[in-house]
Symmetry: none
Subunit: 216 residues, 4 copies
DNA sequence: TATGAATGAGAATTCATTCAT
DNA sequence: TATGAATGAATTCTCATTCAT
C-alpha cells in the first residue's frame, strides 16, 4: 500500500508523509477503500473529496495529510493494482507450457478480470482527463506482461502478434469487468466472452495451419 | 451576398457577423455538433455549456432557448443516434439471408462501428451519472434490433442466445470504436477484433459444416 | 480600463469577456476600486476575493465573470497604472529644458508620487509572489521613461548614469508614497525627501564640475 | 568526535541522525534561522510552519513547544534584531565626534544596512498584517537611537530635525537593503544611495564651510 | 517528552441556470 | 426576441494549531 510522494509538475513540493503510526496506516487504508468505492460509483470526476472523507470517517484535513490531492488518490489505486500483477503472472508462467489453450484462456481471463475488478480501477482507466500517461503506463505494462506469458506458452510467436493478441485479450477482459454490474447474474454474456476469447486464442496460438490469418 | 463587405461605407456593419437570424434548425444542428465535439474531447462532465455555446457561435442565452439544460443536449445526441439505426438495419436485413457469416460480420461491425463513432456518443454512453435509464434504453434498443437481424439471418436461433450474441457483437464494436483514438493507424488490433468476431459468429451461427476449421 | 484577457500558463483558456453593457462596465469599475482598496489595506495575499466582491456589492460569481482569477485583478491595476504614465511624462518633457533642477525635482517627485499613490499599486509591487515579471516590467518601463526625461533635460547625460539616477529618484518617490500612511500629516519627512532628491539631482545633473563622483 | 562513525558495528545507529537531544538553545537557533530564511523567500504569509519545521529538522509538534504560534517566531526575529542595535550604536557613538560627515554617513549606512539585512527582517517589517505595533516599536526605537547618535555628532541639532533626519537615513538604508536582491552585483545604485545620503547629511549636519560645494 | 495525527475554518475558483433589458 | 449579466452552491485544497499516545 504505497503512498505517492508526488513530485509532478507544480510549484509546491509539499512533502506528504507516509503514515507512520498504526492509526495513520489504518486511516490510509480506509481512505483508499472509500475512494475506490466512490470512484466506482460516480467515476473520478463525480467523486468528491468530501464524500471520500466522509465515507472513510476522515475529516477533510486528514485526508489531505496523506494524499496531497485528488489525483494522488487515483494514482495510488492504479499503482497498487500494478503490484500484484507480476506475482500473479509469474505464478501462471510456471506451468503455462502444460496448459491447453482452453485452460490458458480460462486462467488468463480470470487473472485479468480479477485485476480489473479491483474497486475503482476501471473507472479510473476510463477517465476523461490528462491521464493518458498513467493509463498508458498501466495498459502498456499489462500488455507487455501478458505478451510475455503468451510467448512463453507459444514459443514461436513473435513479438508483434503477441502484442496484438495481448491487447485483444485485455480488452475482452476489461469489457466484461466493466459491464459486470449491468449483466444480471444469470447472464451468459461473460461466458460468451470467455468462449470467444478461446476461439480467438485457438486461432492465433493453435496449430500452425490455423494460425494463418483468415484470408479475406 | 452580392458584393464584398463594405466595412466603412454603410451604417450598420452588423450583418457581417455570423448569421444571427439563422433558422432554428441550423442553429440546433450547430449546437449539437459543437456539443458532440466538446463531449468527445472532454467527456460529459468536462464539457461546459459556455464552451459549447462559443464553439457553435451561439450566445449562452440562446443556447438555453433551444436546450433547456445540459442533459437535454446529451439526450438529443443519443436519441439522434437511434434514428438512423432502424434504417440502417432494415437495409441490411433486406439481403441478410444471402450473406455468408464472414460478410455478415463485416457488415455488422461496420454498421455498429459507424453508429458508435458518432461524435460524443461513446463518451455519453460511458458517462458516470444517473444515466442508467438512457444508456440502458439505448443499449437495449440496439441489442434488440441486432438480435432481430441475427434471427433473420439464422432463423433457427432462439431469442435468448440471439440477445447474448448481440450483446457480444455490440461490445466488440464499441470497444474498437472507443479505443480507435489510441490505436495508431498501423495497428492491427481493429482487424483482430473483426476476425475474432467472425470466429465467434461462425461458432454461434454457422451451419455444422461451416463450423469446421477452414481448410487451408 | 482594460480587462486582461489572460493567456498565461495554465490549461483553461476560459475566455473572459470584457463588459459590454453599461451595467457591466460599472461593475468592473466598482470591482477594481474595491480591489485596490482592499489590497491597500491588507496586501495582495491578505485581500480575499470574497471581500472584494462584498465591498463592490458584487456576488462572487459575477466577479469571476470579469476577472478570471485574483491575479488578473492585480494585473489590471498595474497595467492601468502604466497607461497614464506616458501622457504625464510627455507633458513634462515638453517644457523640461527650461526647468531648473529644483523645479525639475519638484515636478518629477510629484508626478511619480502620484503614480505610486494609485490605490493598491505599491502593495502590489511589493508583493511576495511570482510577480517578478510584472513588477520588473513596470519598474523597467518607469525607469526607462524617467531616464529619457532626464536625458532630455540634461542632454550630455549618458545612458548608464541616467538609468542609475532614474532608479534612485523612483525609489525615493516610492518610499515616500509607501510610508505616507505612517507619516502624520505634520511630518516633514516628505519634504526632507524632496530636498534630498534635489541635492542629489543637483549633484548629478548640475554643472559639469559637480557631476564628478565625490572622491572617496 | 574521536573516530569516524561505525555505521555497522554498534546496536543503535540512531545517533547518526541529526542531534535530537540538542539543548533548547541550539534548537531555537535552528528554528529561527529556518524561519528567517523561509520568510525571506516567501514573506510572512507565504511561510508555513510546516516548512520552517522541516528546514530546521524539527518536528512540527516540537516547533510549537518552543514557539507557541507563528507570530511569536516573527516577534523573536524582530526583537533579536533590536538587541545588537544598542551595542553597535554605542560603539559608534564613542568616536562619533571625530568623524567627518562623510565617514559618519559611511558608518551609519553600513550599520543600518547590516541591521536590515538580517534574514527575514525586512519582509517582516513590510508585512501587511496587524503588525503596526511591532513595526512601529521597532522603527521608533531605531529612529530614536539614530537621532541620539546624530545629536551626539552635531550637538546643536535639536530634537525634531534629528528625528526627521534619522527617518530619512533609515529609509534610505532600508531601501537599499530591501532591493539588494534585485540590483545586479555591478549596479551602482547602492553607491548612489550612499552618495545621496552623504549630500543630505552634509546639508543637514554640516558646518557652514562644509556645506560649500567640495572644490574639485 | 516527543511527535504523528486530527481538525476545520476559510480561500480560490467553476459552472449550470435564470433573468432583466 | 436576443443576450449580457447575475447567481451561489459546490468543489478542491491550505494551514495554523491542538491533541493523544
Amino acid at each position: 500500500m504505497s503512498i505517492s510522494s508526488h513530485k509532478s509538475s507544480a510549484k509546491k513540493p509539499r512533502a506528504i508523509q507516509a503514515p507512520q503510526r498504526s492509526n495513520g496506516k489504518l486511516r490510509v487504508a480506509a481512505i483508499l477503500e472509500a475512494a475506490a468505492a466512490v470512484i466506482d460509483e460516480k467515476g473520478y470526476e463525480g467523486a468528491t473529496m468530501a464524500e471520500i472523507a466522509e465515507r472513510s470517517c476522515t475529516k477533510i484535513g486528514s485526508l489531505y495529510r496523506f494524499f496531497p490531492n485528488k489525483e494522488s488518490l487515483a494514482d495510488t489505486i492504479v499503482v497498487n493494482a500494478r503490484q500484484n500483477l507480476d506475482a500473479a503472472f509469474n505464478q501462471l508462467d510456471a506451468g503455462v507450457n502444460a496448459l491447453s489453450i482452453r485452460a490458458l484462456t480460462d486462467h488468463l481471463m480470470a487473472l485479468i478480470f480479477d485485476l480489473f475488478t479491483r474497486p475503482g480501477l476501471i473507472k479510473l482507466l476510463d477517465t476523461d482527463r490528462d491521464w493518458s500517461v498513467k493509463r498508458e503506463e498501466f495498459r502498456s505494462a499489462l500488455e507487455q506482461r501478458l505478451a510475455k506469458t503468451l510467448m512463453t506458452h507459444t514459443p514461436d510467436l513473435s513479438k508483434k502478434p503477441a502484442a496484438d493478441i495481448a491487447q485483444v485479450v485485455l480488452l475482452n477482459a476489461k469489457t466484461v469487468a466493466k459491464h459486470r454490474a449491468y449483466f444480471d447474474s444469470a447472464s451468459s454474456v461473460p461466458d460468451e466472452f470467455r468462449d470467444m476469447t478461446r476461439l480467438y486464442l485457438q486461432s492465433r496460438l493453435g496449430s500452425p495451419v490455423s494460425k494463418k490469418r483468415i484470408p479475406s
